[in-house]
Symmetry: C2
Protein backbone atom coordinates (compact mmCIF):
# COMPACT_ATOMS: atom_id res chain seq x y z
CA UNK A 1 0.00 0.00 0.00
CA UNK A 2 0.98 3.65 0.49
CA UNK A 3 1.08 4.61 -3.15
CA UNK A 4 3.41 2.66 -5.40
CA UNK A 5 2.43 4.54 -8.62
CA UNK A 6 2.03 1.77 -11.15
CA UNK A 7 3.50 -1.24 -9.38
CA UNK A 8 5.88 -0.86 -12.26
CA UNK A 9 8.83 1.03 -10.88
CA UNK A 10 9.87 -0.77 -7.72
CA UNK A 11 13.30 0.29 -6.39
CA UNK A 12 14.41 -3.12 -7.63
CA UNK A 13 18.01 -2.48 -6.45
CA UNK A 14 20.47 -2.28 -9.32
CA UNK A 15 23.16 -4.78 -10.00
CA UNK A 16 26.14 -3.97 -7.87
CA UNK A 17 29.83 -3.99 -8.67
CA UNK A 18 32.35 -5.47 -6.26
CA UNK A 19 34.28 -2.22 -5.67
CA UNK A 20 31.00 -0.45 -4.92
CA UNK A 21 29.98 -3.22 -2.55
CA UNK A 22 33.24 -2.82 -0.67
CA UNK A 23 32.58 0.90 -0.28
CA UNK A 24 29.14 0.46 1.26
CA UNK A 25 30.41 -0.14 4.82
CA UNK A 26 32.34 3.14 4.66
CA UNK A 27 29.17 5.01 3.72
CA UNK A 28 27.33 3.24 6.51
CA UNK A 29 29.99 4.18 9.02
CA UNK A 30 29.96 7.83 8.03
CA UNK A 31 26.18 8.07 7.77
CA UNK A 32 25.85 6.72 11.28
CA UNK A 33 28.12 9.49 12.49
CA UNK A 34 26.02 12.07 10.61
CA UNK A 35 22.86 10.61 12.09
CA UNK A 36 24.31 10.82 15.59
CA UNK A 37 25.14 14.47 14.85
CA UNK A 38 21.49 15.11 14.01
CA UNK A 39 21.85 15.46 10.23
CA UNK A 40 18.75 14.54 8.23
CA UNK A 41 20.15 14.75 4.70
CA UNK A 42 23.53 14.06 3.15
CA UNK A 43 24.43 15.33 -0.32
CA UNK A 44 26.72 13.37 -2.59
CA UNK A 45 29.40 16.10 -2.86
CA UNK A 46 29.66 16.24 0.95
CA UNK A 47 29.83 12.45 1.27
CA UNK A 48 32.43 12.37 -1.46
CA UNK A 49 34.63 14.88 0.37
CA UNK A 50 34.39 12.95 3.63
CA UNK A 51 35.29 9.61 2.06
CA UNK A 52 37.75 10.93 -0.55
CA UNK A 53 35.61 9.83 -3.46
CA UNK A 54 33.95 11.46 -6.43
CA UNK A 55 30.38 12.71 -6.11
CA UNK A 56 29.36 10.69 -9.19
CA UNK A 57 30.81 7.56 -7.64
CA UNK A 58 28.77 8.23 -4.52
CA UNK A 59 25.57 8.64 -6.51
CA UNK A 60 26.24 5.49 -8.54
CA UNK A 61 26.98 3.54 -5.39
CA UNK A 62 23.87 4.72 -3.58
CA UNK A 63 21.76 3.81 -6.59
CA UNK A 64 22.49 0.19 -5.65
CA UNK A 65 20.61 0.65 -2.40
CA UNK A 66 17.46 1.87 -4.11
CA UNK A 67 16.92 4.79 -1.75
CA UNK A 68 16.41 7.87 -3.88
CA UNK A 69 17.68 11.31 -2.95
CA UNK A 70 15.93 14.67 -2.96
CA UNK A 71 17.05 16.69 -5.95
CA UNK A 72 18.85 19.80 -4.78
CA UNK A 73 19.00 18.56 -1.18
CA UNK A 74 20.63 15.18 -0.80
CA UNK A 75 19.87 11.69 0.49
CA UNK A 76 17.81 10.97 3.61
CA UNK A 77 20.37 9.79 6.17
CA UNK A 78 18.14 7.52 8.22
CA UNK A 79 16.62 5.76 5.22
CA UNK A 80 20.04 5.28 3.66
CA UNK A 81 21.42 3.70 6.82
CA UNK A 82 18.45 1.38 6.94
CA UNK A 83 18.75 0.65 3.24
CA UNK A 84 22.44 -0.23 3.37
CA UNK A 85 21.99 -2.41 6.44
CA UNK A 86 19.14 -4.19 4.74
CA UNK A 87 21.01 -4.62 1.48
CA UNK A 88 24.03 -6.09 3.25
CA UNK A 89 21.84 -8.27 5.45
CA UNK A 90 23.29 -6.61 8.53
CA UNK A 91 19.97 -5.75 10.20
CA UNK A 92 20.03 -8.96 12.18
CA UNK A 93 23.42 -10.31 13.15
CA UNK A 94 24.35 -13.67 11.73
CA UNK A 95 25.96 -16.01 14.19
CA UNK A 96 29.40 -17.23 13.18
CA UNK A 97 32.15 -19.48 14.50
CA UNK A 98 35.83 -18.59 14.69
CA UNK A 99 38.55 -21.22 14.32
CA UNK A 100 42.11 -20.70 15.50
CA UNK A 101 42.78 -18.61 18.59
CA UNK A 102 46.32 -17.48 17.89
CA UNK A 103 47.29 -13.82 17.56
CA UNK A 104 44.74 -12.74 15.00
CA UNK A 105 41.93 -14.95 16.18
CA UNK A 106 42.24 -13.63 19.69
CA UNK A 107 42.21 -10.05 18.43
CA UNK A 108 39.02 -10.62 16.46
CA UNK A 109 37.39 -12.23 19.49
CA UNK A 110 38.21 -9.11 21.46
CA UNK A 111 36.81 -6.73 18.88
CA UNK A 112 33.48 -5.50 20.26
CA UNK A 113 32.41 -3.74 17.10
CA UNK A 114 31.37 -6.71 14.93
CA UNK A 115 27.70 -6.33 15.79
CA UNK A 116 27.72 -3.10 13.80
CA UNK A 117 28.78 -5.27 10.85
CA UNK A 118 26.09 -7.85 11.18
CA UNK A 119 28.28 -10.44 12.83
CA UNK A 120 28.18 -12.19 16.17
CA UNK A 121 30.94 -14.62 16.99
CA UNK A 122 29.20 -17.08 19.28
CA UNK A 123 31.98 -19.62 19.75
CA UNK A 124 35.70 -20.10 19.18
CA UNK A 125 37.52 -23.31 18.37
CA UNK A 126 41.11 -24.42 18.62
CA UNK A 127 42.81 -27.71 17.81
CA UNK A 128 44.01 -27.95 21.36
CA UNK A 129 42.68 -25.26 23.66
CA UNK A 130 44.92 -24.41 26.63
CA UNK A 131 44.15 -26.62 29.65
CA UNK A 132 41.21 -25.27 31.63
CA UNK A 133 40.55 -22.30 29.32
CA UNK A 134 36.86 -22.34 28.43
CA UNK A 135 36.36 -18.83 27.08
CA UNK A 136 38.22 -15.92 25.47
CA UNK A 137 36.91 -12.40 25.97
CA UNK A 138 33.71 -13.99 27.18
CA UNK A 139 33.23 -16.13 24.07
CA UNK A 140 33.12 -19.87 24.78
CA UNK A 141 36.07 -21.92 23.52
CA UNK A 142 35.79 -25.51 22.32
CA UNK A 143 38.17 -28.09 20.91
CA UNK A 144 37.92 -28.21 17.11
CA UNK A 145 36.69 -31.80 17.38
CA UNK A 146 33.30 -30.40 18.43
CA UNK A 147 33.05 -28.06 15.45
CA UNK A 148 30.89 -30.26 13.27
CA UNK A 149 28.49 -31.21 16.01
CA UNK A 150 27.90 -27.60 17.06
CA UNK A 151 27.72 -26.27 13.52
CA UNK A 152 24.94 -28.70 12.73
CA UNK A 153 23.08 -28.14 15.97
CA UNK A 154 23.16 -24.34 15.74
CA UNK A 155 22.85 -24.28 11.94
CA UNK A 156 25.89 -22.03 11.54
CA UNK A 157 26.63 -20.97 7.95
CA UNK A 158 29.71 -18.74 8.19
CA UNK A 159 33.09 -19.21 9.84
CA UNK A 160 36.24 -17.18 10.35
CA UNK A 161 39.48 -19.03 9.63
CA UNK A 162 42.46 -17.87 11.71
CA UNK A 163 44.55 -21.02 12.08
CA UNK A 164 48.23 -21.37 11.24
CA UNK A 165 48.89 -21.31 7.50
CA UNK A 166 49.93 -24.95 7.51
CA UNK A 167 46.52 -26.02 8.86
CA UNK A 168 44.45 -23.76 6.62
CA UNK A 169 43.36 -26.22 3.91
CA UNK A 170 42.72 -29.05 6.33
CA UNK A 171 40.62 -26.86 8.63
CA UNK A 172 38.67 -25.45 5.72
CA UNK A 173 37.91 -28.95 4.46
CA UNK A 174 36.53 -29.90 7.85
CA UNK A 175 34.46 -26.72 7.94
CA UNK A 176 32.86 -27.57 4.63
CA UNK A 177 32.19 -31.11 5.82
CA UNK A 178 30.37 -29.62 8.78
CA UNK A 179 28.11 -27.63 6.49
CA UNK A 180 29.78 -24.20 6.51
CA UNK A 181 28.95 -22.25 3.32
CA UNK A 182 31.05 -19.10 3.70
CA UNK A 183 34.60 -18.73 5.00
CA UNK A 184 36.37 -15.50 5.89
CA UNK A 185 39.98 -16.50 5.39
CA UNK A 186 42.63 -14.67 7.45
CA UNK A 187 45.25 -17.22 6.39
CA UNK A 188 47.77 -16.55 3.65
CA UNK A 189 46.92 -19.78 1.87
CA UNK A 190 44.64 -19.94 -1.13
CA UNK A 191 41.88 -22.42 -0.32
CA UNK A 192 40.78 -25.15 -2.71
CA UNK A 193 37.16 -25.94 -1.96
CA UNK A 194 34.11 -27.29 -3.79
CA UNK A 195 32.45 -24.74 -6.03
CA UNK A 196 29.54 -23.14 -4.29
CA UNK A 197 31.48 -22.53 -1.11
CA UNK A 198 32.02 -18.80 -0.72
CA UNK A 199 35.36 -17.54 0.49
CA UNK A 200 36.82 -14.12 1.06
CA UNK A 201 40.54 -13.87 1.55
CA UNK A 202 42.02 -11.08 3.63
CA UNK A 203 45.10 -9.87 1.82
CA UNK A 204 47.01 -7.67 4.27
CA UNK A 205 50.30 -8.47 2.57
CA UNK A 206 48.83 -7.11 -0.66
CA UNK A 207 47.98 -3.79 0.96
CA UNK A 208 51.45 -3.72 2.43
CA UNK A 209 52.97 -4.33 -1.00
CA UNK A 210 51.20 -1.26 -2.37
CA UNK A 211 52.35 0.81 0.57
CA UNK A 212 55.95 -0.41 0.28
CA UNK A 213 56.26 0.29 -3.41
CA UNK A 214 54.67 3.73 -3.16
CA UNK A 215 56.93 4.73 -0.32
CA UNK A 216 59.99 3.47 -2.19
CA UNK A 217 58.95 5.50 -5.24
CA UNK A 218 58.56 8.58 -3.10
CA UNK A 219 61.96 8.12 -1.52
CA UNK A 220 64.02 6.91 -4.49
CA UNK A 221 62.11 8.11 -7.52
CA UNK A 222 59.66 6.17 -9.68
CA UNK A 223 62.03 4.19 -11.90
CA UNK A 224 62.22 0.75 -10.40
CA UNK A 225 65.00 -1.07 -12.16
CA UNK A 226 65.20 -4.38 -10.27
CA UNK A 227 68.73 -3.78 -8.97
CA UNK A 228 72.21 -3.41 -10.49
CA UNK A 229 73.20 -6.98 -9.66
CA UNK A 230 70.28 -8.65 -11.38
CA UNK A 231 71.41 -7.16 -14.70
CA UNK A 232 70.09 -7.94 -18.11
CA UNK A 233 70.32 -11.71 -18.04
CA UNK A 234 66.62 -12.33 -18.56
CA UNK A 235 66.78 -15.92 -19.65
CA UNK A 236 69.00 -18.77 -18.53
Amino acid sequence: MAGCPEGEKMPASKVYTIPALKRLPAYLHHLRALHAAGEDYAASPALARALRLDSMTVRKDLEIIGVGGLTGVGYPVEKLIDGIETFLGWKNCSEVFLVGTGGFGKALLGFRGFSAYGLRIIAAFDRNPPEGETAIHGIPLFPFAEFKHLTERLKIRMAILCVEDADAQESADRMVEAGILAIWNFTRRTLHLPSGIITQQVNLAGDLAVLSVRLAEKLHGPSRVPDPDLKGEKTR
Copy 2:
Protein backbone atom coordinates in the same frame (compact mmCIF):
# COMPACT_ATOMS: atom_id res chain seq x y z
CA MET B 1 79.47 -7.17 -16.88
CA ALA B 2 78.42 -10.74 -17.69
CA GLY B 3 76.97 -10.09 -21.11
CA CYS B 4 74.17 -7.58 -21.37
CA PRO B 5 73.70 -7.93 -25.16
CA GLU B 6 73.42 -4.33 -26.33
CA GLY B 7 72.97 -2.43 -23.09
CA GLU B 8 69.70 -1.70 -24.82
CA LYS B 9 67.24 -4.14 -23.37
CA MET B 10 67.53 -3.91 -19.63
CA PRO B 11 64.74 -5.70 -17.74
CA ALA B 12 63.55 -2.17 -16.97
CA SER B 13 60.58 -3.58 -14.99
CA LYS B 14 57.25 -2.82 -16.58
CA VAL B 15 54.70 -0.46 -15.18
CA TYR B 16 52.64 -2.33 -12.66
CA THR B 17 48.92 -2.29 -12.00
CA ILE B 18 47.57 -2.13 -8.46
CA PRO B 19 45.73 -5.48 -8.61
CA ALA B 20 48.91 -7.15 -9.88
CA LEU B 21 50.93 -5.51 -7.11
CA LYS B 22 48.52 -6.91 -4.53
CA ARG B 23 48.98 -10.39 -5.95
CA LEU B 24 52.77 -10.34 -5.72
CA PRO B 25 52.92 -11.35 -2.02
CA ALA B 26 50.80 -14.42 -2.81
CA TYR B 27 53.27 -15.50 -5.50
CA LEU B 28 56.11 -14.87 -3.09
CA HIS B 29 54.46 -16.96 -0.40
CA HIS B 30 53.85 -19.88 -2.75
CA LEU B 31 57.26 -19.69 -4.41
CA ARG B 32 58.93 -19.86 -1.01
CA ALA B 33 57.02 -23.06 -0.32
CA LEU B 34 58.11 -24.46 -3.71
CA HIS B 35 61.70 -23.49 -3.00
CA ALA B 36 61.57 -25.22 0.38
CA ALA B 37 60.26 -28.30 -1.43
CA GLY B 38 63.29 -28.24 -3.71
CA GLU B 39 61.59 -27.06 -6.89
CA ASP B 40 63.82 -25.16 -9.30
CA TYR B 41 61.24 -24.01 -11.86
CA ALA B 42 57.59 -23.04 -11.66
CA ALA B 43 55.42 -22.84 -14.78
CA SER B 44 52.61 -20.31 -15.07
CA PRO B 45 49.82 -22.90 -15.45
CA ALA B 46 50.93 -24.60 -12.22
CA LEU B 47 51.20 -21.31 -10.35
CA ALA B 48 47.79 -20.33 -11.67
CA ARG B 49 46.21 -23.52 -10.39
CA ALA B 50 47.74 -23.09 -6.95
CA LEU B 51 46.61 -19.49 -6.57
CA ARG B 52 43.30 -19.82 -8.44
CA LEU B 53 44.33 -17.45 -11.20
CA ASP B 54 44.68 -17.58 -14.95
CA SER B 55 48.02 -18.57 -16.46
CA MET B 56 48.03 -15.40 -18.58
CA THR B 57 47.47 -13.30 -15.48
CA VAL B 58 50.43 -15.02 -13.87
CA ARG B 59 52.68 -14.32 -16.85
CA LYS B 60 51.56 -10.69 -17.03
CA ASP B 61 52.16 -10.26 -13.32
CA LEU B 62 55.61 -11.82 -13.40
CA GLU B 63 56.56 -9.60 -16.30
CA ILE B 64 56.50 -6.74 -13.78
CA ILE B 65 59.39 -8.33 -11.93
CA GLY B 66 61.61 -8.50 -14.98
CA VAL B 67 62.72 -12.09 -14.37
CA GLY B 68 62.20 -13.99 -17.58
CA GLY B 69 61.07 -17.60 -17.76
CA LEU B 70 62.43 -20.51 -19.77
CA THR B 71 60.16 -21.22 -22.70
CA GLY B 72 58.66 -24.66 -22.33
CA VAL B 73 59.91 -25.01 -18.77
CA GLY B 74 58.80 -22.21 -16.47
CA TYR B 75 60.24 -19.50 -14.25
CA PRO B 76 63.34 -19.95 -12.07
CA VAL B 77 61.97 -20.13 -8.53
CA GLU B 78 64.93 -18.72 -6.69
CA LYS B 79 65.42 -15.77 -9.01
CA LEU B 80 61.73 -14.98 -8.91
CA ILE B 81 61.71 -14.93 -5.12
CA ASP B 82 64.68 -12.65 -5.14
CA GLY B 83 63.13 -10.49 -7.85
CA ILE B 84 59.81 -10.05 -6.06
CA GLU B 85 61.51 -9.27 -2.75
CA THR B 86 63.70 -6.73 -4.47
CA PHE B 87 60.82 -5.16 -6.37
CA LEU B 88 58.77 -4.78 -3.20
CA GLY B 89 61.76 -3.54 -1.24
CA TRP B 90 61.39 -6.42 1.19
CA LYS B 91 65.00 -7.62 1.05
CA ASN B 92 65.93 -5.51 4.04
CA CYS B 93 63.23 -4.95 6.63
CA SER B 94 62.10 -1.38 7.13
CA GLU B 95 61.65 -0.40 10.72
CA VAL B 96 58.20 0.86 11.60
CA PHE B 97 56.29 2.14 14.61
CA LEU B 98 52.88 0.97 15.72
CA VAL B 99 50.42 3.28 17.46
CA GLY B 100 47.48 2.05 19.51
CA THR B 101 47.80 -1.15 21.50
CA GLY B 102 44.16 -2.16 21.72
CA GLY B 103 42.86 -5.44 20.30
CA PHE B 104 44.22 -5.18 16.79
CA GLY B 105 47.43 -3.44 17.67
CA LYS B 106 48.29 -6.10 20.19
CA ALA B 107 47.58 -8.85 17.64
CA LEU B 108 49.90 -7.26 15.09
CA LEU B 109 52.62 -6.91 17.71
CA GLY B 110 52.31 -10.62 18.39
CA PHE B 111 52.50 -11.60 14.75
CA ARG B 112 55.98 -13.00 14.22
CA GLY B 113 55.73 -13.22 10.46
CA PHE B 114 56.15 -9.57 9.48
CA SER B 115 59.84 -9.97 8.75
CA ALA B 116 58.85 -12.10 5.76
CA TYR B 117 57.00 -9.02 4.53
CA GLY B 118 59.82 -6.58 4.91
CA LEU B 119 58.57 -5.08 8.15
CA ARG B 120 59.99 -4.86 11.62
CA ILE B 121 57.92 -3.20 14.30
CA ILE B 122 60.55 -1.77 16.60
CA ALA B 123 58.35 0.15 19.03
CA ALA B 124 54.73 0.52 20.06
CA PHE B 125 52.99 3.64 21.35
CA ASP B 126 49.83 4.26 23.29
CA ARG B 127 48.20 7.44 24.55
CA ASN B 128 48.37 6.11 28.07
CA PRO B 129 50.22 2.82 28.43
CA PRO B 130 49.14 0.66 31.36
CA GLU B 131 51.10 1.50 34.53
CA GLY B 132 54.43 -0.30 34.59
CA GLU B 133 53.99 -2.01 31.21
CA THR B 134 57.11 -1.32 29.16
CA ALA B 135 56.83 -3.92 26.41
CA ILE B 136 54.28 -6.04 24.54
CA HIS B 137 55.39 -9.35 23.06
CA GLY B 138 58.95 -8.15 23.58
CA ILE B 139 58.45 -4.90 21.67
CA PRO B 140 59.10 -1.77 23.75
CA LEU B 141 56.07 0.36 24.59
CA PHE B 142 56.18 4.14 24.96
CA PRO B 143 53.67 6.90 25.66
CA PHE B 144 52.55 8.57 22.44
CA ALA B 145 54.08 11.82 23.69
CA GLU B 146 57.49 10.39 22.78
CA PHE B 147 56.48 9.49 19.23
CA LYS B 148 57.89 12.56 17.53
CA HIS B 149 61.17 12.50 19.35
CA LEU B 150 61.80 8.83 18.56
CA THR B 151 60.61 9.08 14.97
CA GLU B 152 63.11 11.82 14.31
CA ARG B 153 65.95 10.13 16.15
CA LEU B 154 65.49 6.77 14.43
CA LYS B 155 64.41 8.29 11.10
CA ILE B 156 61.26 6.17 10.92
CA ARG B 157 59.20 6.60 7.75
CA MET B 158 56.25 4.25 8.14
CA ALA B 159 53.73 3.74 10.92
CA ILE B 160 50.82 1.41 11.64
CA LEU B 161 47.70 3.14 12.95
CA CYS B 162 45.58 0.99 15.30
CA VAL B 163 44.01 3.54 17.65
CA GLU B 164 40.31 3.92 18.40
CA ASP B 165 38.35 5.33 15.47
CA ALA B 166 37.67 8.55 17.33
CA ASP B 167 41.41 9.25 17.68
CA ALA B 168 42.37 8.28 14.13
CA GLN B 169 42.60 11.70 12.46
CA GLU B 170 44.29 13.35 15.44
CA SER B 171 46.89 10.58 15.73
CA ALA B 172 47.55 10.64 12.00
CA ASP B 173 48.09 14.40 12.09
CA ARG B 174 50.67 13.98 14.84
CA MET B 175 52.38 11.22 12.87
CA VAL B 176 52.73 13.48 9.87
CA GLU B 177 54.07 16.27 12.07
CA ALA B 178 56.69 13.85 13.32
CA GLY B 179 57.84 13.14 9.76
CA ILE B 180 56.02 9.89 8.98
CA LEU B 181 55.48 9.49 5.21
CA ALA B 182 53.42 6.31 4.98
CA ILE B 183 50.55 5.15 7.20
CA TRP B 184 48.96 1.71 7.27
CA ASN B 185 45.50 2.55 8.55
CA PHE B 186 43.63 -0.17 10.48
CA THR B 187 41.01 2.36 11.56
CA ARG B 188 37.63 2.67 9.90
CA ARG B 189 38.04 6.39 9.41
CA THR B 190 39.11 7.95 6.13
CA LEU B 191 42.16 10.10 6.84
CA HIS B 192 42.56 13.64 5.53
CA LEU B 193 46.25 14.35 5.20
CA PRO B 194 48.53 16.56 3.13
CA SER B 195 49.06 15.29 -0.39
CA GLY B 196 52.29 13.35 -0.62
CA ILE B 197 51.56 11.35 2.51
CA ILE B 198 50.91 7.76 1.50
CA THR B 199 48.12 5.85 3.21
CA GLN B 200 46.71 2.39 2.81
CA GLN B 201 43.40 1.67 4.44
CA VAL B 202 42.55 -1.84 5.57
CA ASN B 203 38.93 -2.45 4.67
CA LEU B 204 37.87 -5.58 6.51
CA ALA B 205 34.25 -4.43 6.57
CA GLY B 206 34.36 -4.23 2.79
CA ASP B 207 35.46 -7.86 2.49
CA LEU B 208 32.76 -8.80 4.93
CA ALA B 209 30.16 -6.96 2.84
CA VAL B 210 31.09 -9.04 -0.20
CA LEU B 211 30.90 -12.22 1.85
CA SER B 212 27.54 -11.29 3.38
CA VAL B 213 25.88 -10.43 0.10
CA ARG B 214 27.18 -13.54 -1.65
CA LEU B 215 26.01 -15.79 1.13
CA ALA B 216 22.60 -14.12 1.18
CA GLU B 217 22.32 -14.64 -2.59
CA LYS B 218 23.20 -18.29 -2.19
CA LEU B 219 20.63 -18.78 0.54
CA HIS B 220 17.76 -16.63 -0.72
CA GLY B 221 18.36 -16.32 -4.44
CA PRO B 222 20.03 -13.52 -6.35
CA SER B 223 17.19 -10.98 -6.61
CA ARG B 224 17.80 -8.46 -3.90
CA VAL B 225 14.71 -6.34 -3.63
CA PRO B 226 15.45 -4.14 -0.60
CA ASP B 227 12.62 -5.58 1.51
CA PRO B 228 8.82 -5.57 1.33
CA ASP B 229 8.48 -2.86 3.99
CA LEU B 230 10.69 -0.31 2.23
CA LYS B 231 8.20 -0.24 -0.63
CA GLY B 232 8.29 1.94 -3.65
CA GLU B 233 8.44 5.34 -1.99
CA LYS B 234 11.72 6.41 -3.53
CA THR B 235 11.51 10.10 -2.79
CA ARG B 236 10.21 12.00 0.22
